[in-house]
Symmetry: D2
Subunit: 315 residues, 4 copies
Amino acid sequence: MPVILGQNQYGKAENRVVRIVRDGGTHHIKDLSVSVALGGDMAETHHSGSNATVLPTDTTKNTVFAFAKEYGIASAEQFGIRLARHFVTSQRAVHRARIRIEEYAWERVARSRTRSGSCSRTCSGHPGPDGVQHSFVRAGRETRLAQISYDGESWEVISGLTELTLLNTTDSEFRGYARDRYTTLEEAYDRILATDVTARWRYGWTSDQHPAPDWETSYAEARGHILETFAGTYSRSLQQTLYRMGSRVIEERGEIDEIRFSLPNKHHFLVDLEPFGLTNDNEVYFAADRPYGLIEATVLRDGADAAIPVDMTNL
Amino acid sequence: MPVILGQNQYGKAENRVVRIVRDGGTHHIKDLSVSVALGGDMAETHHSGSNATVLPTDTTKNTVFAFAKEYGIASAEQFGIRLARHFVTSQRAVHRARIRIEEYAWERVARSRTRSGSCSRTCSGHPGPDGVQHSFVRAGRETRLAQISYDGESWEVISGLTELTLLNTTDSEFRGYARDRYTTLEEAYDRILATDVTARWRYGWTSDQHPAPDWETSYAEARGHILETFAGTYSRSLQQTLYRMGSRVIEERGEIDEIRFSLPNKHHFLVDLEPFGLTNDNEVYFAADRPYGLIEATVLRDGADAAIPVDMTNL
Amino acid sequence: MPVILGQNQYGKAENRVVRIVRDGGTHHIKDLSVSVALGGDMAETHHSGSNATVLPTDTTKNTVFAFAKEYGIASAEQFGIRLARHFVTSQRAVHRARIRIEEYAWERVARSRTRSGSCSRTCSGHPGPDGVQHSFVRAGRETRLAQISYDGESWEVISGLTELTLLNTTDSEFRGYARDRYTTLEEAYDRILATDVTARWRYGWTSDQHPAPDWETSYAEARGHILETFAGTYSRSLQQTLYRMGSRVIEERGEIDEIRFSLPNKHHFLVDLEPFGLTNDNEVYFAADRPYGLIEATVLRDGADAAIPVDMTNL
Amino acid sequence: MPVILGQNQYGKAENRVVRIVRDGGTHHIKDLSVSVALGGDMAETHHSGSNATVLPTDTTKNTVFAFAKEYGIASAEQFGIRLARHFVTSQRAVHRARIRIEEYAWERVARSRTRSGSCSRTCSGHPGPDGVQHSFVRAGRETRLAQISYDGESWEVISGLTELTLLNTTDSEFRGYARDRYTTLEEAYDRILATDVTARWRYGWTSDQHPAPDWETSYAEARGHILETFAGTYSRSLQQTLYRMGSRVIEERGEIDEIRFSLPNKHHFLVDLEPFGLTNDNEVYFAADRPYGLIEATVLRDGADAAIPVDMTNL
């Protein structure tokens, strides 16, 4: 037969599981969307439609919810590891499992009134003495990401975040660039730099023989380094900012070997107010939607092999 | 002619204006999407295509950006009032203006490291002594809304918010309801209550003869009352929670005469784990997308006339 | 008590029901999203949380699916009428029902090969002699809309469509408009005119005493008049095009008393190619996203009262 | 330095270019979103912020629009090839170019009335003798995709489509599958099979030495084979349907060496109507949103190397 089957995988995508832990009156919440993809000895269902080796996607869904009960969700990564191990070790035909997780953040609603205007009167995260411990407000716009892959022998854990929107009102320029006959751009000496950070970082941990990282701390620290570096960098190009964010994470977090960013350059165009007799001293901008610059790169620990796929978005 | 022209309006929608105020090294940001709708003596362009009374929508866009420079943006409401007044008083053919504004919140990025885990290491809003004053992160998922209408004589200001996602893990029940032959629902004695709040409230202020409210304070206080009431109410129905949130705002904020909510009941179904030999003691939920309950109501100060349109969403 | 309850309604939104009719080997499909909103004697659930008069939203969902079986779906309007009548007449506390429906179109997939390139080889809608009668492809980008309101005495049926994207490459101009100090727009003598039509039309039929319109024919005819008028009008303003589309529908369809349009002016800007030594003779355009003009108006049969809400969108 | 730069690319994404060709009164339209990604000798801008080798993304945008004028758009693939070649051959620092294109389809609006109800009165694509030749309606829900990669020596062209929504009302079953303790699914002997096809296929053509395929014909034929195979297959699993669609394309189109599908299994659950005393004889379905099955696989010509990335979506 001149046609052959290549890479294939299947499973249930976007299982929205909410797990509550009730510690007396204080409740904790984990809110995930879990996608399961399994591969292995699955040629027959493609060729003849026989499903003898196919664990139904419905079963993979059930497993996500059952495991949330049986084992709890300490972190997205730990939960994904447990699921991946289960599928690979319990089904002979399943040789590979990849679990992708989106995690949505919640903050507590404080009942006590805090009069400081800084957090719109009802501060999140700081419940007072009479604070309610079972009320939450969805926090932030970003989504935490985790992807766990397992082939029965070694692990690959890629964590990250998306839709973290950052903006600097100054300390950004763009000049000294190459030119050709289609170049009309004027140099910018003081521009707004804005982006929606999508980042994925890969951990060096691959074997059950070694202790896994503390996933929650690692996430918080990596995220913090990205924010601080974005804020603290005088940017001559978004590429430079990207590289500094990446190298800071690699340098500061020994457990992370590789990080890749996809950074749209969300253009804020200075509006020409001259026709109205006004000057625009970097005060009024038009925030454009499309097109936008798109800057993508991987930053690696020297000696590490790149494994994060190049294309994390479709553009 | 058997056909007549009814209500009509036109303008430029979704002008995305970002206004920076530079107070030395400390920068401030206002980020709005402004939609202009004008009405008045516009029959001729509908009938013959003559545009003699039609100020181009492009001009209304220019005005938004020019006003951001000339007058700044103290608040969405104040900015909308200025725009509405301008169009109605400067164009003889324009008799009505309605400005709709979405405002997106930003928080400062702190450079100094704060080691408390509570805010993912880099806390927003509390820059340390070496804090960067020009770096921002998009905050929250909700959008602030404002709508200003003016007919040359009186004002109508409706403010609000949308996509404020709230969740209580307990203190919610639903029972004692009406039944018919299509009723299969079982009573819930302890359920998750989750919603995306869309609220719009109308101010009593209508005349330049009286001082306008402090829009920023009023917004923060109304939002805070909504959060606190949601968190503090033992809910027998989402309608009851809605009414308490509304009456609290009306009672506490004398400047607000009317408030309307549109509250999806975002179902979190308890997963049946019995087939797997597990009990689900209010721990594991499936967060469903569709369908969802939708609860909508207006709460009014006694004596006030309802003016907020009934349908704020399309469903 | 200084606070009162105003208009309120509740129900289950976005019930996605797919109804198959099997006529031998030839299958027919109806694909709807049905939203139910009920009102009436519901004060108590708002005030005390007592649900004694509240038919659960879950029951309204069940009713949608049960009625799809019991009565079939001849048209969105007929199905909505049946549902609205049921809720108002069977529940003493329900005094008003409003059913909103989105309908998604499907076309048949033809198995036989048609070699004419005009429809991408596999033509929809024209199955050959060996055509498969149970395979469908989602057709078109537009969504059909219907809203049925009933208070136990009289009916209001508003039908329509949304996201019908139209474009004329010529026969559109915009000039002779009003100017002020913020006007910079240059007159356009030959521009692209593009829009996403949202239209809602109200039927004169209100009473069971009279025969209802043929909803399917009426929809097809109204849609056709809109397309033909858009295509056939030399446009001096989008308002003029709107009015012609509306008056054509009112004139041609005696069963329709009122129609309202919301028409974004989807700007296609002629790209300035002069810096590259090229002329742009109305050949290359940049299709912008935001901002956009937004033109809205109602067209009425003389003597009819306007009843379609002014704001069909949020902008 | 322990940190190194890995794969990197940059450019302008989502350039929305509309190209009109005016053949007398008959106009033709091409509507594309073009994303440019360039790579090569770009380390310096990452390390020091020097942009000496960086052609601005703004210039890549200008080039897209200028080329639309200079060379026209015969097909998305041909346009992308021209752009990729230009960047790689004209900028010494650019060693790789990847052009991604989405194409949106338009059909002509017919002015003449066609009374057959089959196409909602105003048929697309078949203008009558007095047909307007400059009016268009956006057609279909699917988007055509093309990706062209060039490194100065060899070409890789991957075409495809996304959001092609298909549904069979019968001839689908799912049974005989593997079971474990989490399996609760009941076997289905006659179910609805629905999916949104995302497909990408890679052409064997890689060298300017050989003539390129006829891109328009190849697209239409591949799409047609996919539709016909979906319609004509009695499906025992979605994997089987996928494989048949893929092998049909490989067998029938010699110019295509590899095809990959990502097929969500859009569940249509038979509604349980028994509580209402009704039977549901495969008539009434609930169309669920999430979770959904996700089936992905590559089908290859024997001897070809797989090159289409495994993950075309983020789940």
